[in-house]
């Protein structure tokens, strides 16, 4: 069924979301009561944790989904298997597959969800707000670059996990946020989205600021790494910041994640 056809039909009342970021969008659009099932990774907002779980992202349970008699199932192109969506369609269950991957795709994705669930107006407001804030951050990014008279962008690195060292590379939301904010991600030239990065190269490229995504016992693990990086300018000048994991998920909170980075970059 096409999107337009869904919009014309009555608004769906039994919605299943198979991805945490879509669940967040659905809740933000006030469709909380119509969500009847979510993936086991959907942990935000609190209300999502109480919803029936239908399995993981790569292995949702077909039985669990079907038994909830949904009239619309949301999936993502990157996170959920294509074959699963095909099975659902073959069983005459309406599906919408979201392809948004970049921060600039986010407003479009939110509008798409809004149209599909009959909340186009609310979605438009949320999307327009996000667009406005992205533009603001781009402006700030330009200013930050202008501040650095050397005409060189401040160098940044976002560490996802310290041991082994995994960082945010090209194509990730985090990389995009660093770029929008006017910094140069020193992992931009890596050939993977989440590359295992060379410690030698961090010492050499000496980033001006290091962000560390929060995780399980992260501060203790990261201590060892920072000890080894003590000659890097970010570590020397105490420009190492622990930040939330909002950027890992392309949803309404992504902008808060960008805001967090922007706040720390003002201290540069």
């Amino acid at each position: 069924m096409s999107l337009a056809a869904i919009a014309c039909a009555e608004a769906p009342q039994r919605i299943i979301s198979l991805a945490p970021n879509i669940t967040e969008v659905l809740f933000a659009l006030g469709a909380e009561d119509r969500v009847v099932g979510v993936s086991s990774f959907c942990d935000y907002p609190e209300g999502a944790q109480q919803k029936p779980k239908v399995g993981g992202l790569s292995n949702p349970s077909l039985e669990a989904v079907v038994s909830l008699r949904p009239d619309l199932v949301f999936l993502t192109k990157d996170g959920n298997p294509k074959a699963f969506e095909e099975r659902l369609r073959a069983m005459k269950i309406n599906t919408v597959v979201l392809t948004a991957r970049k921060i600039s795709d986010l407003p479009g994705g939110i509008r798409q969800v809004g149209t599909a669930i009959g909340a186009a107006e609310k979605a438009e407001r949320l999307a327009a707000d996000i667009e406005k804030r992205i533009r603001e951050y781009e402006e700030r990014g330009k200013k930050l670059r202008a501040l650095h008279k050397t005409s060189k962008k401040p160098k940044a690195l976002f560490i996802i996990w310290p041991e082994p060292l995994i960082v945010a590379g090209p194509g990730t939301t985090t990389h995009e946020a660093l770029t929008i904010l006017g910094t140069e991600n020193i992992a931009a030239t890596a050939s993977a989205a989440y590359p295992k990065y060379s410690i030698e190269e961090i010492l050499r490229r000496s980033p001006d600021v290091i962000f560390i995504g929060k995780g399980n016992g992260m501060d203790k693990v990261a201590d060892g790494l920072l000890q080894r990086l003590k000659s890097v300018s970010a570590v020397k000048n105490k420009k190492v910041y622990y930040v939330s994991d909002y950027l890992y998920r392309l949803g309404p909170r992504t902008i808060q994640g960008v805001d967090e980075l922007a706040g720390h970059l003002q201290e540069l």
């Binding site: 993981g56 993977a192 590359p195 190269e201 010492l203 050499r204 490229r205 203790k220 060892g224 080894r228």
Partner: protein, 323 residues
């Protein structure tokens, strides 16, 4: 043809050269004589300990593979077949998941080491019957435990949404990049003891391969010798897993490559497998950190990609095939 002594000298020489190259080569070349501050720091606190760990791990794997193939009389045996590495991985993964850090950065390697020793003991107990260790029993106990621990690991992975556990997987796949000087003395002690024990029993191992009865008539107690050699394998495997996770290929195929060239005498085979294993892992690590800078590849993958074709080539070329 080269004499065997020349070959042995060559094999001693190779790891030294490789170690030297590993200091110079990397994402960028460093000339040790004209190095600036950053380059010197990279040389001393990153490249040198990392290459040391690669050498130690490779040595432990090569030597323990040779010994294990001998005591199990099985050309397919490698240090991981006894389940020791699965036990170590399980312990390490549980530690990572629980966020354990009671002895700082030593926690995870220590947990892996303890996990390996406990698993080794269980395998030993399972393989013990009528006053001694039996090769078939050891092998099957190891395979059984290995399946059990891998399954438990997978179980925790699939029921947990914890990020930490997915990171644990990365650790299990072998990582040399975090090597530091502080762990090296322990590595040298355990790998050294393991190799010395197995070397001191090399003659007995030669006899064991001929069969228990012959070994007995040559003056060796098969059960006692097997037990001592088994302990050395356990120590070597535990040390290598806790130094840098699991690296395949070396323990299984390096002893075979050495046999192709130098024959099956364990007095030569064990030390040469150690040296070639160390050199090979060091070479693999040079490649893994240099080909796609600033990215690194897992050293275990590189080891298998460069090692396996060479092994297959030798398999076609050479006639001898024995343990």
């Amino acid at each position: 043809m080269m004499g065997i002594n020349v070959k042995i000298w060559l094999i001693i020489f190779v790891p030294i050269v490789v170690f030297g190259v590993s200091l110079i080569a990397g994402p960028r070349m460093i000339n040790p004589f004209t190095a600036d501050d950053i380059s010197r720091e990279i040389l001393i606190s990153i490249r040198a300990p990392r290459s040391m760990v690669a050498l130690l791990m490779g040595m432990a794997l090569g030597a323990s593979g040779a010994v294990l193939q001998g005591i199990l009389k099985n050309p397919l045996a490698d240090p991981y077949i006894l389940g020791i590495s699965s036990g170590a991985s399980l312990a390490a993964a549980l530690g990572i998941m629980a966020g354990a850090a009671f002895v700082g950065t030593f926690t995870i390697p220590l947990l892996a080491f303890i996990g390996a020793l406990i698993t080794g003991s269980i395998v030993g107990i399972m393989g013990w019957k009528r006053g001694g260790l039996w090769p078939e029993r050891l092998l099957l106990a190891g395979v059984g435990l290995s399946f059990l621990f891998s399954a438990l690991l997978m179980l925790f992975m699939s029921i947990s949404n914890d990020e930490g556990l997915r990171k644990a997987m990365l650790w299990i796949f072998g990582d040399l990049s975090m090597s530091e000087w502080s762990k090296i003395p322990y590595g040298i002690i355990f790998v050294g003891i393991g190799i010395l024990i197995s070397l001191s029993r090399a003659k007995a191992l030669n006899a064991l391969i001929l069969g228990d009865e012959l070994a007995h008539s040559l003056g060796f107690s098969p059960h006692r010798e097997r037990f001592i050699l088994f302990v050395s394998v356990g120590l070597l495997t535990a040390a290598s897993v806790s130094l840098g996770g699991m690296i395949g290929f070396i323990g299984l195929l390096v002893p075979h490559i050495v046999r192709f060239f130098l024959g099956s005498d364990n007095r030569v085979l064990i030390p040469c497998s150690a040296l070639i294993g160390g050199a090979l892992l060091c070479i693999a690590d040079i490649i893994s950190k240099s080909v796609l800078p600033p990215m690194e590849l897992p050293a275990g993958i590189v080891t298998a990609i460069i090692g396996s074709p060479y092994f297959l080539y030798l398999l076609r070329r050479k006639n001898v095939l024995s343990i």
